[in-house]
Amino acid sequence: MKFDSIVIGSGLSGLTAALILLKNGHRVAILEKDNKPGPLLRRFKREGYWCDVGLHYTGGFSPTSSLHTLFRYLGLWEQIHPVPMDLKAFDSILIGGKTFEIPSGLDSARSAYLNFFPKSSVAIHAYFDFIEDTLEKTPYVNFDMAFDQFSTEFKSDETLEAFLKKHNAEDEMIHLAGRHAFALCGIEAHEIPLYYHALILGPFYRGACTFNRGGDEILDAFTAALKSEGAEIFCSQQVDKIELSDKRTFQGLTTVDGKRFESGSCIFTGHPQLLNDMLPRGIVKPAFFNRLKGLTNTKAPFVVWLKAETIPRRLRSTNYYRLGRWEKKEDMFAVMACDSGHSDRKALCLISLASDGCPGKDEYENRTSNPAYYNCKNIQIKKSLALFEKMFPEMKGEYSVIDAATPHTFERYTGTVNGSAYGVKHISAQRGLTPIISARGLYLSGQSIHFPGIMGTIISGFLTTSMILGLEKLWDQVRQYQ
């Protein structure tokens, strides 16, 4: 089968890229190994309760944000209904026996930090000034910028920790800002470049929202638009081998089922280390394979879903975090907001994210039939429930477990290496991959290439597509929807 472009993977980056290409007249095929599009975004239903997976809340959807512009361009804005989280506290963080509530709005978030850490006021002002500056001056966060201002991107490798220390922040302030970001992108304060932190956290500070139907709401909007634009979506089609010519130009690919697809360009949105087995040796140089092998990943999540007849009011639109200390190799633990105010019953969702050095997927052994796997899984479930009951004592005896997902589950569903929550680590110590690699016509996109998270992967889809269509052209198209 012949197409103008093939997109491998139907996560948010792939869906965004495919829709942009279609709007520009390409004939597009999307190949997804799972049996339905968007395995990470999609909710599932157990015992009458909807369970969220890869979308709980997000920044970037306020009416003045760049996603608003991008979604209007894509024709999706009318299809989605962002619901703001609690404006006074979208996240509530337990720290040193106290509770720190993060309100929506950069000014409010700044004040909250100042009230909580009065001794770190210099650092806090510098921190929020930097975030505001970054959001203002990063083109794809601010479509007001002219196309030729693209080169003003921040290039400094200074880490969040180094920056805050330089401004004499208290250790607790660094811990809080760092571990909160760790929850949202899987990278600790001593590793994450400040500008990168700003791009991920900034949109959350500006305003966090959720969707009544969770990831399904975004997914349904995308799939409907893709179908009406004529996309061909092939599910249960795992790409096995990518074919390149002797000149290292993309030619086509074959799936595990032996189907062959051809196209002029191809975007791979899966975890980039998967390319190790997909690209032809002898044509692609060992340097590229070694580079892939050397990449370090963010840690894997462990998720438990609970059903409960009634849910504490305070959990309606605030997430509760227990950050844990990375020095002690403690997990980050979160109880995600669970709005029961509409007709669909929603499961409570508990997420742990392992610190560096904590047991990862290997601990869960290789096969689900292995008793050690269940052992490990049960221990982790108990750990999560104990933390949950400590944070919400009123819930004792009021809930039951309906499902749990291990790092292994995430690897199986999305193919992300070792089940890593946010893909490849974006850190100063390793040179990240870009959409362009050493094979012509083959491009990369997704959380491992640009930024993790809902906003990051949508922007990634946009940025990668701009390499194919031309940045200036796409920029002009999108800016008309300001």
Binding site: K155, S156, K285, R291, G294, R431, I436, S438
Partner: protein
Amino acid sequence: MESSHNNVEEKVKIVLVDEFELDEAELSPDATLYDDLGLDSLDSVDLVVALEKAFNFKISREKDEETIRAIRTINDIYDFINAKQADI
């Protein structure tokens, strides 16, 4: 001094042979990476990463970008590495 220079040349050659499958016999100092050796601009980032690993230093996006872009021959690589090492 002499021996450390030879060491640099040796290591760069190992990178080019092992990581880019080039023929050692063709690696004369004035051989151009793109025209003579058939590498292309798409290889440049992979080359930077391979050199960082081989010499255990970081090539900065801010400071070294211009110099990296100006590299044409194998000798340019030697010069770059030597300058970089003198810097450290």
